[in-house]
Symmetry: C2
Subunit: 217 residues, 2 copies
């Protein structure tokens, strides 16, 4: 099934949420789910859910809602995670990097760490979560050998752009950056940014302003 022509970033992110919820529903053996129930479970509006899902095709069965198994199958297919293993390389085996290597949530959703590098010679050669930490110089060779799809950056701010460049030179086209600094990437590369402190700052803003509270995300 070809991808629809124009899909907003927000819609792609919600697609991942729908799959998460449908996976949960499959475990409870629920055969159908309404757009209303999906919306409630995910904190979205009914209209949003219907609009998103209609972007990807006709899934609804009038009166009974969506068929859980079929919708799950189609959406995982569209998302590109159906039966697919994505290979991830992590740069920066510090506290955060080590935790991400150990985080089971990635593997459960089809993302496997195959490579870990760190610039600290004392870490090179040590085992972290069953992976032998390599030096960044080995990145081009390891990326190729392990067929890496996604590079994850958890190095300090000062080193982030250099590590990013190393990933790009090694042929990686998708990057998740946890270092709180803006990275320059050329066209043709996908970049996601996770700034953990920024999440707290957003909450701080709402707390500081005692405004009418609600869901901040």
């Amino acid at each position: 099934m070809p991808a629809p022509r124009v899909v907003s970033e927000g819609c792609v992110a919600r697609l991942s949420l729908y799959v998460r919820e449908l996976t949960r529903l499959q475990k409870t053996r629920a055969p159908f789910v309404s757009s209303r129930r999906l919306a409630q479970q995910l904190g979205l509006t009914d209209a949003q859910v219907r609009r998103d899902l209609s972007t990807f095709g006709q899934f609804g069965t009038s009166g009974r809602g969506y068929e859980v198994r079929r919708l799950h199958e189609r959406l995982t297919g569209i998302l590109g995670i159906a039966g697919h293993q994505w290979h991830v390389a992590l740069a920066g085996v510090g506290n955060l990097g080590s935790a991400l290597l150990a985080y089971r949530g990635f593997q459960e959703r089809g993302f496997l760490f195959r490579v870990a590098v760190d610039a600290d010679p004392r870490k090179v050669g040590t085992l972290v979560q069953g992976l032998s930490v390599a030096s960044p110089q080995q990145l081009p060779e390891l990326v190729k050998k392990a067929r890496i799809h996604i590079g994850m950056i958890t190095v300090p701010v000062e080193a982030a752009q250099e590590v990013c460049n190393q990933f790009l030179q090694a042929g990686v086209r998708a990057i998740v950056n946890f270092a709180p600094v803006h990275l320059e990437v050329p066209p043709g590369v996908w970049l996601r940014v996770v700034d953990l402190a920024s999440e707290l700052e957003t909450l701080a803003y709402y707390l500081a302003h005692h405004g009418k509270a609600g869901k901040a995300s």
Copy 2:
């Protein structure tokens, strides 16, 4: 300075990015910065930066751009992080929780972990990053004593809603949830969600569709 009436969530999140970049500029002792330079550094458009900053007041000096020190001062004030220490309680001292406790980026930006709880009796009483892990039963007392502003949830999916309820009952009004599950919170509570696997799934979507690539965030 009173908060402007209507500020979008996106704008609040970008405010945090402006402060991050201005902090960096202050260290380089740059006296002025143009909206264009700020935009380049943060991957935004010039117009976006000018629109955001004009939401919060008149900061520009014609011809020379923004005064770095003054803009930094005002924006940190607006964000609610100027000279303010925010107290954070973490629930779930697993791999991810332990890493977040150790992550220096929070402290650097004014967020201090004061409380950590875990349901595992073997962990209660152990020291993690200088904090003695408590049991969830102690949460109400500890939240009050440590004047906790923000609750951080890093427990498994099955326990997330219960821990969230415990935070709310203890009087916490701002929650960051790392468990990949939707949480129900009443009006008057701010909730941020960080779904790490979802970030990778978004990249997987773009990789799977070989579309015209670019910045995915």
